[in-house]
Symmetry: C2
Subunit: 236 residues, 2 copies
Amino acid sequence: MATIITGKNTIKEAITVGRKIFELYVQPGTNDEILELAKTHNIPVKELQKQEINNLLPKGHQGIGASVQDYAYLSLEDALAQPKKHRLYLMLDGVEDPHNLGAMLRSCDAFNVDGVIIPKNRSVQLNATVAKVSTGAIEHVNVIQVVNLSQTIRKLKENGFWIVGTDMDTPQTIHEMDVEADLCIIIGNEGRGLSRLVRDNCDYIVKVPMSGHINSLNASVSCALVLYEVYRRKGE
Amino acid sequence: MATIITGKNTIKEAITVGRKIFELYVQPGTNDEILELAKTHNIPVKELQKQEINNLLPKGHQGIGASVQDYAYLSLEDALAQPKKHRLYLMLDGVEDPHNLGAMLRSCDAFNVDGVIIPKNRSVQLNATVAKVSTGAIEHVNVIQVVNLSQTIRKLKENGFWIVGTDMDTPQTIHEMDVEADLCIIIGNEGRGLSRLVRDNCDYIVKVPMSGHINSLNASVSCALVLYEVYRRKGE
């Protein structure tokens, strides 16, 4: 199956890493650099006038689109088979906003996250918006789709992972995490936070220390602060 | 002038802090808690059926909207007149996405930022989308609108501020900032980064250390990582 993606960086990265691209759509006079790249990769190009490209592509397309092979998921088994010391996984417990997932994928690429686990239901999936917002990071992050988060947590624990939930309602801060271990950080839904069952299955819960009146952060911001804390303290 | 805002948290916070609310729009059977709050504040309420409220309000309204007094800006002079040791300002050099500004306002509230400076032109302004995404943080953060960023930087320097730009193209990291000082952190445009003139006027430039392939983060994520670093090291 194909997905139509847009955006200069996203498409450039897709070509560079060798994603299968069925056709490139471009508005003449724009995106010369990507056209050159497409030529060297023998990718079919269709020139479309402004009006046509506006009809075909969603807003914010930057004059370029591509029909590409769908983004694929890794299985948990395959992900766990990749050996590494002190693995860092991110689990999303009901994140809904594709902008958040896109921004999180950028942070995962930046801070050496080994896999992002998302449930098959009640969660945003990999799509064109996520790809665009990730500015190409989607090509570099392992995304693992699972059916059941509780079972996944059990399997991770069997594999030696510590399961660390994030929430404001806890005394422990991100600075108290033991980062010299296999870690799975869990970020909850944008409005409701962690689901009860997932929370109960965590080894411990941490918060980002903060002051202020609102006492919560954007989900992708929280996520980045926790991931960066692990990255910084591991000294990677 | 009035702005129509939506979202439970945004409206609850607006009522709580005493923002002038001309009228509340609510879908019967939803948002009972806010209706109670509105009653105690003598706010006129208009009940609208699902279809009517969908026509009136933008998507994602959560069954509630309010016509409120426009969000106001502070002048730089008034902001600087508020005495405080080691002030922390954030300057946005061409940030365009209201979702980014909304998320940044949440981080500013959380990490004790004393003022957010945005230019009058070529920048996102305070609006209903920013208010919604900020989940009420917009009510607690001083936003300063200025005409010219270079002149503003000069005035801040005269007032003892250190001007710290953020960019990937620099050897210095956020860990090398001197946080025991009046600081103004600058975040650039989502695609282009800092403008040339603003960059040239910075005292120094810092980056968030990272690995990976994409080598950049979402603007509101970068912003939060820098602000949190200052907050953490000040021990506030």
